[in-house]
Symmetry: C2
């Protein structure tokens, strides 16, 4: 069981001085004589004194704890972001409490509520694919919590945001597909309300338009990123009178699944149908054929988000216009196209 904790009072008693003096000695306050400080430090060491951060937090009203809200830590994309965030804020002494929403808006809300009670110093949030109501975040904002939104952002608040190279990503990918001779390019998109999905679709459409290819609504399918949706989308496309000669997706996992599906059907990639993804997941280079994809650097996104948080934390009182940061990406061509 837990033993009695050594407190500054123990040190004070042992030395026959007041606890304020002990506190001063311990906090490098100049108003302590050299010998007193020495004695305190020695006693602290011999008693194995450990300051109680809880008491400190209560006084300073700061915990040096940051809440990180993500949908799923098992997705390499989010794991990398978390890693970046931790490395960015860690050197300033901040720790992170990671909370997973499991893509449930309700759990997301509960997690935020709980971390608010734990008095974290700020929140870095990536919403679920289904979050449409942002009242819980607005509450945080009103309460004055430093906020940073990343990847799946909340646009209704003037807070720092870090996003992927959405429009450009699909524009570039589609352009590449067209340049390699494809004309009937299908798009596996995400939920219609999702900002990132909309932007990526716009990039796709812009590339088509620019090359004089008419947009065919039959070639665009919206998913909620579930495998079932991918399967039915592919089946629908293959049953078309004129099936696509290329499929691009707004996320790598979808692209990889499509590769598997097409291979199982004996369809050659890229000869019959080219496939492209988005994100450059670790697995994209391992599948056969390698998945052409638009690289994102989630670790960098985390680093940037962490830094934004640090900034927000520092200049609490300025209200410089919060910006939206776009993490640059680039196309990685592999043998799937």
């Amino acid at each position: 069981m837990k033993k009695h904790q050594v407190t500054i009072i123990d040190i004070a008693k042992n030395l026959g001085i007041s606890k304020s003096t002990v506190s001063r000695a311990l906090t490098n306050n100049p108003n302590v004589s050299a010998e007193t400080r020495k004695a305190v430090l020695e006693m602290a060491k011999s008693l194995d004194y450990q300051p109680n951060m809880l008491a400190l937090s209560l006084i300073k009203n700061e915990t040096r704890l940051l809440g990180v809200i993500i949908p799923d830590i098992q997705k390499p994309f989010f794991a990398a972001i978390v890693s970046g965030i931790q490395h960015a804020v860690g050197r300033m002494g901040y720790r992170t409490i990671i909370a997973q929403s499991d893509e449930s808006p309700q759990i997301e809300k509960e997690n935020i509520q709980a971390l608010m009670l734990s008095r974290v110093d700020g929140f870095l949030i990536c919403h679920t694919r289904d979050t449409r109501n942002f009242d819980h975040v607005k509450t945080l904002y009103q309460k004055g919590f430093p906020l940073v939104s990343f990847a799946r952002i909340c646009q209704e608040l003037p807070i720092p945001k870090v996003v992927e190279d959405d429009f450009n990503g699909l524009y570039t990918t589609t352009q590449h597909l067209i340049e390699t001779g494809r004309r009937r390019i299908a798009l596996l998109a995400g939920p219609k309300h999702m900002r990132a999905s909309k932007l990526r679709q716009q990039g796709y459409m812009a590339a088509l338009r620019q090359n004089g290819i008419t947009y065919d609504q039959d070639l665009v399918e919206h998913t909620r990123f579930l495998p079932e949706h991918v399967t039915s989308a592919v089946h629908k496309w293959l049953a078309l009178p004129k099936p696509p000669d290329a499929i691009c997706t707004i996320y790598d996992a979808g692209g990889i699944q499509i590769i598997q599906l097409l291979k199982n059907k004996g369809i050659r990639i890229p000869e019959d149908i080219a496939v492209a993804g988005f994100g450059n997941d670790p697995v994209a280079s391992l599948v056969e054929p390698g998945l052409t994809t638009f690289e994102q650097r989630p670790y960098e996104i985390g680093l940037i988000a962490g830094k934004q948080m640090l900034d927000t934390l520092k200049k609490k009182f300025t209200d410089m216009p919060p910006e939206i940061t776009i993490s640059q990406g680039k196309l990685i061509v592999r043998s799937s196209t």
Copy 2:
């Protein structure tokens, strides 16, 4: 900036009663009249009162926060474990602070130190591949912190431990290789001091022995799980007068890298050399050929570890013999063997 927090004193003043009564009403203490309670609850709601967990933690000396120490959240294995832990302890109201050691024993030590100061209620720890000194954990133990060790465990302490199916995993895999006609089976092991690596190697050797195959030291290489080590091990084996006809590894990433290496050299898998892994990483099924591997369920390991922690937290005062839990696994045969 942060606004003034509503406290029970605000409620008390508004109602003209004492803060003790407010506290009682809020904590469902029976010694409050129904009407007072009602008034307090209403006032709390209208003021949007949020209890300050910090103050509570200071009094109760418990934070409902658990420290999770892992080498690298970007490894799917650890990400899955973390997920399991969170889901196990989350329903009991515990949150987790994840700290990455980046495989550095020094950082591991610092992280533990820091979380100790933050007064987490317990630690779930997976050590770095290079951790050999466990003094920092022993300190925790002496201080009475509930501890659970998983995957890369500390054997020097009587605490709950959750490990993979190490011996059996490589025994089964090697057996399978032998049954499919292989005789010169190489082993890509881990650091010599690492318990899991030793056990897996023992499983490998047991299978050889049982089949009357003499152990050839040239066929066993120890790595620190770095790609360079894998490359040089493979080169060394291929340069042997009698190269191996199979390679088994104690971790999937190694197996996958070997597959890539052999393919690049035009060596056929499994015809020329069979390859097997350990863990069933998500990618193992995606490479070509699919990697035969011994499945572990890291998510389950996390669940178990989380439950052990919950138990430790509950029965603080009993000292039932702490056990070592082995997460069962099974061989998944794919086309690499």
